[in-house]
């Protein structure tokens, strides 16, 4: 059955974009309703997963817009609570909740396009061509958005980790 076959893939993308299990489940449910309603517009020359990802990512963006009005736990609070920062490196076992909070914290404040490209390319591991098909952006725009997203995230984390290190 289509739902059983693709719900895991759809959930993973929704979760990586939203960082919230319940929200991701809602987005997956809405997306399948949308898929069912718009199935007659699906062009079978296109990969089904690409079409599905486009629907899921659009729904997730709508949800992010609504979620942005909610406060996000700041990284400064999150890192010492969630992660065991050790001298030799980071030793963590992430679970949905922790990973979700981290995703939300590191991606919060990123422009929508950067957030989308980072989620699709880095977190979901899609190919540049797939990201292009889903987002409708040019290759150059994808590269540029991804570069800035990675840089902002690392700078954000570096600032906090430097501060933590000074405290030790």
């Amino acid at each position: 059955m289509l739902v059983e076959k693709y719900q895991h893939t759809a959930f993973r993308l929704a979760f990586r974009m939203l960082g919230d299990e319940d929200e991701a489940r809602d987005v997956v449910q809405d997306s399948f309703i949308r898929i069912w309603e718009k199935f007659n517009t699906y062009n079978d020359k296109e990969k089904f997963t690409s079409w599905m990802y486009r629907i899921v990512s659009n729904r997730a963006i709508d949800s992010i817009r609504a979620l942005n009005r909610r406060p996000v736990i700041s990284l400064e609070k999150l890192i010492p609570e969630t992660l065991a920062i050790q001298e030799n490196g980071i030793d963590i076992v992430l679970e949905n909740r922790e990973a979700g909070e981290l995703i939300r914290s590191i991606t919060s404040g990123l422009p929508e396009k950067q957030q989308l490209v980072f989620s699709l390319r880095d977190l979901q591991g899609l190919s540049p061509k797939e990201v292009q098909d889903i987002s409708g952006m040019t290759e150059t725009a994808i590269k540029s958005n991804l570069y800035h997203a990675r840089k902002t995230i690392r700078e954000k984390l570096t600032g906090i980790l430097t501060f933590e290190k000074k405290l030790l």
């Binding site: 059955m1 997956v28 399948f32 069912w36 963590i92 880095d122 995230i153 570096t158």
Partner: protein
């Protein structure tokens, strides 16, 4: 080497703008505590991002999600099916009544349409006639000329009346008798 340059080089290295750190920066790192801390923080940030990237979200209770989706799909489909199966109530169920109603609507539409045509045609014809009368054919200036011509004619008649008073009286008495 200045700390600002070393930090810039470290950032470029982690942003993959530099393939590897140059020996001068590496040497600076060995002796500078602050820059060393920045390097370690960048390294840990990279590790952390990699961990987040590598993380596979777990879909808890997948059958529950499937059921939720199927129920939502069932609701969505049943709503559209209900829309399709809505039946007319009371007298509207009678086929003959519905046909009569449709026929009446068509006749009324045709009648009003024809009447509309007649009115429009009448207006059109009136406009054509109006175009043919001198006042309408000429401009305002011409109309004034026309009016002054009429007044002059009237003045001439009055002049005639004054000069041939008896004759006019006779004529009017004859006309009145008739």
């Amino acid at each position: 080497m200045k700390c600002e340059i070393a930090i810039q080089n470290i950032d470029h290295y982690f942003n993959k703008e530099l393939g590897e750190l140059d020996p001068e920066t590496t040497q600076h790192l060995a002796g500078c505590m602050d820059c060393n801390m920045h390097f370690i923080a960048q390294k840990k940030a990279k590790e952390l991002v990699t961990r987040i990237i590598d993380f596979e979200p777990v879909l808890n209770d997948p059958s529950g999600l499937t059921n939720d989706i199927m129920m939502a799909l069932g609701d969505a489909s049943s709503v559209s099916e209900t829309d399709k199966n809505i039946k007319p109530a009371g007298i509207f169920q009678n086929v003959f009544f519905r046909w009569s109603l449709s026929a009446a609507a068509i006749i009324l539409f045709a009648l009003f349409g024809f009447e509309q045509y007649l009115v429009l045609d009448k207006i059109n014809r009136l406009e054509t006639q109006y175009q043919n009368i001198p006042e309408a054919k000429f401009g305002m200036q011409d109309m004034n000329t026309f009016n002054s011509w009429g007044i002059r004619k009237l003045r001439n008649i009055n002049h005639l009346k004054a000069n041939n008073k008896e004759l006019f009286e006779k004529i009017s008495s004859v006309t009145n008798n008739i």
